[in-house]
């Protein structure tokens, strides 16, 4: 890739951080706005999104808004799950979490197309999720579980990720944070917590299509080999059981004899003996030499064999 069009005013540290994600524009309204949601009038300050309006009233239909995160300004909206779709007269269906609250909009949560889109998208999230809640450390405090229950999901239309051959091994290499990517919904909160809040530059998003996953900016394969400082911010923001503090991995699991989170997946990456410090060895070794450059993630070639 050649680029002779570069910006020269970027401070070196943030330039070195490569989270792998797009630089989104500033979302939210430019002015204060009054609009209606399911007939209820709401007035919001500048900078608001339609989701702010939706959460301010008692809506006719449940809006899961799964990937949204309102506890820290530096995180989100990623607007990837599309379980927050609402209908507006003016713009049709829009994702409420990232759409600006424009004055005079007429927003409906109960339009047939909006309900259908939220339901189908929630089922699409579940289709790629290992839904073995009984062995999950986040059982009972998981935002995906909450959303599925609130949305009365009985039988997800596309099933759930339940194919042992397709599972990624659990990364249990760090003594502090465990990663189970089979439970990741790619909300990107952890990547933003790591890069935009803590400015640590450890986590990134990598790959594309079905290979999209969270990974490490130093190209490490495991948490132990990453430059993680074990601050734990990513664990705090993760909505699911994908990032869990090692000490509480089994805290919420139901005691089914012989059935644990790890044997439900089949494979895991275990810590090596010397790795007992909170800070991962890579971080201790040489933080200053980190160059922050990521290798180009080889994109998946479309399979060349014949259909079907």
């Amino acid at each position: 890739m050649s680029s002779e069009f570069a910006r020269d005013d970027v401070p070196p540290l943030t330039e070195a951080i490569q989270p792998g994600t797009a630089t989104d524009p500033t979302v939210g309204s430019t002015d204060a706005a009054t609009l209606t949601v399911d007939g209820h009038e709401v007035t919001l300050e500048a900078g608001a999104t339609l989701l702010d309006a939706v959460t301010a009233v008692d809506t006719n239909e449940d809006v899961p808004a799964l990937c949204s995160y309102d506890r820290e300004d530096n995180i989100g909206p990623r607007s990837e799950c599309r379980t927050c779709m609402v209908k507006t007269d003016e713009h049709g269906l829009v994702p409420s979490c990232s759409f600006p609250a424009e004055d005079g909009l007429n927003v409906r949560t109960d339009a047939v197309a909006a309900t259908e889109a939220r339901d189908v998208n929630l089922d699409l999230v579940l289709s790629n999720h290992n839904l073995r809640c009984t062995t999950c450390g986040k059982n009972g405090r998981c935002e995906l579980q909450d959303a599925a229950i609130a949305n009365d999901v009985a039988e997800p239309r596309y099933g759930v990720l339940d194919n042992r051959g397709a599972y990624e091994p659990i990364d249990d290499s760090s003594s502090f944070i465990q990663i189970d990517r089979n439970k990741c919904i790619l909300c990107n909160r952890c990547v933003e917590a790591c890069n935009d809040v803590q400015v640590e530059g450890v986590l990134r998003l990598e790959g594309n299509g079905q290979d999209t996953r969270i990974g490490f900016q130093n190209d490490a394969e495991t948490m132990a080999d990453s430059t993680c400082v074990s601050c734990g911010h990513c664990v705090t923001v993760c909505p699911t059981g994908s990032l869990v503090e090692t000490g509480i991995v089994d805290a919420a699991t139901l005691p089914v004899p012989g059935f644990t989170q790890k044997n439900s997946i089949g494979r895991s990456i275990e810590p090596s003996d010397e790795n007992t410090e909170l800070m991962t060895p890579m971080k201790q070794d040489d933080w200053s030499e980190k160059d922050g450059q990521t290798s180009t993630e080889a994109a998946t070639e479309s399979e060349s064999e014949d259909w079907p």
Partner: protein
Amino acid sequence: MAEHILSESVVLRIAESTPEQEVLKAVASATSIPVVKVGTTGYPVLEPLVLLTKNGQTAFYTSCSPEEAAEIATTLDNGNLRIEDADAIVEHPPERPYLPVPDLWPLQTGARTVLRRCGWLRPTHPEDYRISGGFETVDSDTDTVMSAAHSVTGRGWGDAMTNTPVGTSWNRSIDADGDPAVVVNAHGSPGDRLLLESVPFLPLEGALAAAQAVDASDIIVYLSEADEQALECVTATVENLPTTDTMVHVVTGPDEYRAAEPTMALEAIEGSQRLEARLRPPTPDIEGVYSRPTLIHTPRTLAQIVHAASGASPTRIVTVRGDVQHEATIEIPEDGSLATARTAVTVDGVFKGACVGGQFGGLTPDLDIAPTPNALDAADLGTEGIISILNEDRCLVAHVGEQSRFARDENCGRCVPCREGTVQLTKLLREVYDGSFRPDDIEELLRVMQSSSMCAFGRDATRPVATGLDHFEDEFVAHADGRCPTGTCTTEPQHEVPQ
């Protein structure tokens, strides 16, 4: 050599699209009269093409080998050339600025407005372009350019204003805070590649005019790193542009389909190694490259603006490929019909239908449709400017299955309806082979992908399947019964779904 090519009384023009330029070299060493390299005409079937212009006549020698071309040049040199033996001859005024079109298939097909200089001028020579009426739009007043912009709709999925009047976007950039920039998105489309290789000054003039209209200080020409000839050509052209207050940069991105998406183009320009779409709104014309208000247009859009500013009626550039003997890029008036495009190619076998609109085009058994956004939209076809002809041996269930799998493997991975939706869509299509055809479930998924995907990749990826079901549902039913009408899908029904 004279300052511009039109003043040469005798000249040999060579149009060949191979980088080796063997015919050009053979001819140049065989004669003492001027020999120039011109851009391709858009018709590989005619090339390598040798044009001899002499005494107000131009003779066309098509598909010349280096030896044949050298032979023409030598006989010309020793005065023995019988011009009547050429494949076609056309008479024209001595300084004719555009390719004179002889009665020669497929050159006389369609219109030649935007493409009229292709095959006639030296692509990177500013004086050739100027003498043919070029650079009038950069010199005209802003009102003329703005009203042209309001009359032209964006061409191609790489244009941030696809099928929408581009002037609206320019107004947003003018009103937005910050120093505007203009991106010329030439990534991945054959029509845009032709413009950059044969008449690069035209889209660049459009970009300069746009930059003047919105007061932008930078123009960034963005193309795929695989398009080496276009890259070379546009780089040379940029050096030869008239000096203005605008800086022009050339940046390449990876050779991936998704890299043409307008916001992924911005990501590539900013040097991101992993490309994914950006959120909108606000649109890039308000907050784009490095947060600056950024117009993103394809070369085809910018070329149309230049022509609209001179009062010409709009046309569409369409590339025809697929089951044809030679690909062709042709220009069709907007009030014409896509059926014209079919007459510019020789179909291999019997015509069954066409996929209109590029990678994620719609299927249709009938091409008699106006090439306008409204008419194409009504038929759920795409405006991408690429038509793939499908012959009767093509299995359309396999065709849409392959497109769905491509979408599954090539999407950026950002949003659920596209990333997970294409996985489920591919599975649903694969299950047809196992006897389970569930059109209602497929259509529900298509509706949601269409209405909630973040960018045009996911929205457009629904089109092949949706139109396949509309026009060829009986083929799906046949496959569910274990029968492929064309005999293409020979696989025994399987019960395992490919991951």
